[in-house]
């Protein structure tokens, strides 16, 4: 196929028109989030009726291992666990556990799939369902 000057110009025009949808300064990604913070928090957080932080962290680690993750880092004081799953893609997840009042613990998870943050509620729901099963406790949604 031979490109004429007109088709080339048309291509150029179409390409340039589609550009404004792209980012112009990639360092802006630093603080960028796609969904509202409040919404993401409620998707990524569940409360459990226990105060045993150590046991909860151990269960989080076990659940991540069940799901095929390799644990990168865990810190009891901070209550955090980070893990990576490699399966043709790279899935990184950080889970934090912190007290909520005197009766409950809040478990918050966030994950990135290759180069994007995961915003799909279902994925977090699946994680919390698996976690709830191993904790023998039900996960309460948090508003």
């Amino acid at each position: 196929m031979k490109f004429t000057k007109t088709t080339m110009l048309l291509f150029l025009l179409a390409a340039l028109i589609s550009l404004p949808g792209c980012q112009t300064n990639s360092s802006k990604q630093l603080l960028q989030t796609s969904e509202s913070q409040v919404k993401m928090r409620s998707i990524q957080t569940r409360a459990f009726d226990t105060t045993d932080k150590n046991q909860t962290l151990r269960t989080v680690i076990a659940t991540l291992q069940d799901l095929g993750f390799v644990v990168d880092k865990a810190d009891e004081t901070l209550g955090s666990v980070s893990a990576t799953k490699l399966d043709g893609y790279q899935l990184r997840m950080t889970v934090t556990v912190r007290p909520r009042g005197s009766q409950q613990l809040l478990v918050r998870a966030n994950a990135q799939y290759n180069l994007t943050a995961i915003n799909d509620p279902e994925i977090y729901q699946d994680f919390f369902t698996a976690l709830g099963k191993s904790m023998f406790l039900s996960a309460h949604s948090v508003e």
């Binding site: 550009l19 990604q29 630093l30 901070l78 966030n110 994007t116």
Partner: protein, 135 residues
């Protein structure tokens, strides 16, 4: 500077802000008041794509453009003085590494725009406030 809140609570609030921003925690040493986090994101910029298209159309072949980046954050909490354990300073630094479409590193830099730091601390202040009152 944050007053009237324990160091571990500031760290916990900071971890929460990092999760809000989509960072994963890479490293933490709570005894030293340190958390290191990172996230990987798209680094394509419209300007570079436009230049690459023009060059390709002029017969210059495929030009490498920035593709992905790793954004790093390290946060340190320390007491203002030895005697006063209720006042803490929080210091945060951001860096990024950018790779292009040929997987070569094109940029390694500290991010120094004051707005970035201001926004981070605005978010942290809110989180510390909530943490301080155990809300």
């Amino acid at each position: 500077m944050y007053e009237g809140i324990a160091e571990v609570d500031i760290l916990s609030a900071s971890a929460g802000v990092m999760q809000d921003l989509g960072f994963n925690i890479d490293e933490s040493e709570t005894k030293l008041g340190l958390i290191v986090g990172s996230k990987e994101r798209d680094a394509t910029e419209a300007g570079q794509v436009a230049v690459a298209i023009v060059i390709a159309l002029l017969g210059g072949g495929a030009m490498a453009i920035d593709k992905n980046q790793k954004l790093r954050l390290s946060l340190v909490v320390r007491p203002v003085s030895e005697d006063d354990k209720q006042k803490h300073l929080v210091r945060v630094t951001f860096q990024r590494i950018v790779w292009n479409t040929q997987n070569r590193i094109t940029r390694i830099e500290g991010l120094e725009q004051p707005e970035i730091y201001q926004e981070f601390f605005d978010r942290l202040s809110k989180a510390v406030f909530l943490e301080g009152y155990k809300i």
